[in-house]
Subunit: 408 residues, 2 copies
């Protein structure tokens, strides 16, 4: 088999842990599999590099920003290479440009366009363990890019797809995908299996197990994905195509995201094309807008509220204020003290009353809902961030996701 | 003019210092010059990376070692790029592979084979300040290499040669080239001018102002070189072709090198080809052998002593012990507590008695000379390392290099 194994920052957070990763991958190699290992930067390193860039400039130009923050993965692939060779295994590390992993030029959030597999295949044929730097790529013009936070997951899945790997294992610091964050809800339990669709919603809703785009990639190319711990041998969670069993559960998980901020533009003239005027420049600045709510119009004006990632708030505000002036809108308000709490489940499609149960549960505890957004298989509510943990616990309880209930 | 400016680790050792470097280079740009800036890793970073590799393996495989330690320069070029753009200047950073700076594959001590200048020239034509990562290159096969300690000097001079620059300025933490290390001899004074040949000897003898190979490059391609401080506006030292004035001074400088270790092979069978058998494998392992002394042969056996860099001692000993067994030599001894003290001067060629004055000066203080090596313009003595500072001071005094003497 050809197996891609991805190890996150905490899994390579120290020299001992890097040696441990080498042992794990070597064991797979001993079983006669071809192994491609993808690694992130050692934990804390990327944050340190980001902080350096911000000490120079709060809003660093992104081409140079990417050059700086891609350095973390370079260190970990080299160290892992040394670890393999010290154990008597032949290994070869690849930076993004050496693979090459070709991306567009959306610095700091680049998308993979193409992966050339010749050099990796040659190294595998030569009996080497292939090590690839996660998170980074190269444009066709030869500029270094990065794929956004959690981008190493995407690197791993994209490599698995390009190499037509038999399995892609995502090793992390948790045992798998949980019904909710075990750190804030002790009743949370590991799921054995989850559909791509549900995982996709969870990733986009702030469950930090996998990067959103990695799940999109996995779904698109049908890459069998396993999320598991790098610190023990517990079986992880299989992310795969939906099956009958999965559909019978109305709600599979509760997710939350505190990394959001809300922007409201008051008194927007209610004319065709206004939304495009507002959101096109944000898109061009590579700022992801998540939820958008537009109130009904009164006297030809409306209020527009939307959410962005907290880290994009400053840039987004600069852009939005300029546009608000141009289109004669009113004040621009912002609020970074919000959280998005969501419930996810394939079964929602066929089970009625899920939404009203969610709203009632929150209302019962006096938690005000500021924005609502729904899809076929998820419902999200924006609330005041101080209620996040409380909201997660009561929803987890209300939809009977706890260990107690399942054991019945 | 086209000016290459190189800033070392201490010059980019903090965010404030990086901003300072940006200001300095921007000033040159304001004067309508084309500017290419070469930077090292922030001070301490490369050491930190080397330490990480050694925590995995004392003798790391060198391909992966280079991948790790090249990461430091990547961070500083990106940060400098951000600093320029924040000041309103257009700039573009280049990693070794992006220039590209093509080297051989002698990992950790690679030599530059070729520098392609098209991309840099295009950026300059576009009005950009070009920033290049020092210390790193790429092989024709696409593997990352590094040029050895101080390699950024070589990068700068090689770029100046390839671009046919009008001037190459090496900014560092000292005001220029001194008659000896001011840290151990308060009488040391800055030289206004020094010949390539003397600078070459000084670099090879442990004066850490410039990397040896950078001086070789400068001499070969006649690159006008200025060594000066990045912290003040003091005029530095010009390194150039020798002239009449230079030749009149018998001794220009005293250098020392504590980074040496001595290996002695006892009872080596005195047969043709033995030296080759011993030194070829060391050369192949990329270990530089510096001084070699062979005693007169007694009863068909001789003792061979040579010096290597301290950091190579462990690897060198492993190699030498194997060979000593093969050629039926005796024990292999080593000593890391040695230092090399040298005097340098173009005038030595025409002034008699310089050597005897050196030996007498050392003898007078009871300092034993363990090895001697001479060239046309330098004399080196290996002594016990504990006498290093003393020896430097008395030689500096004996050859009247001090401030007092010059003022006469």
């Amino acid at each position: 088999m050809l197996i891609v194994q991805k190890f996150g920052g905490t899994s390579v957070g120290s020299i001992d842990r890097i040696k441990n990763v080498a042992k794990r991958a070597a064991k797979t190699r001993d079983e006669k599999h071809d192994v491609v290992v993808v690694v992130s930067a050692m934990s804390g390193e990327t944050n340190k590099l980001v902080a350096l860039t911000q000490q120079v400039n709060d809003l660093p130009p992104l081409r140079e920003y990417d050059v700086v923050i891609a350095a973390g993965e370079q260190v970990s692939i080299g160290l892992l290479g040394i670890a393999f060779e010290s154990m008597g295994y032949r290994a070869k590390s690849f930076l993004g440009f050496q693979v090459p992993i070709i991306t567009d030029n959306a610095y700091s959030k680049a998308r993979i366009l193409e992966i050339k597999t010749d050099r990796m295949r040659k190294a595998l044929r030569d009996g080497k363990i292939v090590i690839v730097a996660g998170f980074q790529g190269i444009t066709r013009d030869g500029n270094v890019t990065t794929l956004g936070r959690g981008g190493s997951d995407t690197t791993a899945v994209a490599l698995a797809a390009a190499l037509k790997a038999d399995l892609c294992e995502i090793y992390t610091d948790v045992d798998g995908v949980y019904t909710t964050d075990p750190n804030i809800c002790s009743e949370a339990q590991k799921l054995d299996k989850i559909s791509y669709e549900e995982m996709l919603e969870m990733a986009s809703l702030g469950a930090k197990v996998l990067q959103l785009r990695s799940v999109e990639f996995a779904m698109k190319y049908k890459v069998p994905l396993v999320v598991r711990s790098s610190f023990n041998d517990t079986e992880g969670t299989l992310v795969a195509k939906e099956d009958k069993e999965m559909e019978q559960i109305s709600v599979s998980a509760v997710a939350y995201d505190k990394n959001q901020a809300k922007i409201t533009v008051l008194r927007v003239p209610d004319k065709p094309g206004i939304a495009a005027k507002l959101f096109t420049p944000l898109c061009e600045a590579n700022i992801n807008v998540d939820m958008i709510v537009q109130n009904v119009s009164t006297e030809g004006f409306t209020d527009l509220t939307f959410t962005v990632e907290k880290s994009d708030l400053k840039r987004a505000l600069e852009t939005v204020k300029k546009i608000a002036d141009n289109i004669d809108a009113g004040n621009v308000l912002s609020d970074a003290d919000i959280a998005k709490v969501s419930i996810i489940g394939l079964g929602m499609r066929s089970h009625a009353g899920v939404a009203s149960k969610m709203f009632n549960t929150l209302a019962h505890q006096g938690i005000n809902i500021e924005m609502i957004s729904t899809s076929e298989i998820k419902i999200s509510c924006v609330i005041n961030s101080k209620y996040t943990e409380l909201a997660v616990r009561i929803l987890h309880e209300a939809f009977e996701l706890g260990k107690q209930k399942k054991k019945k």
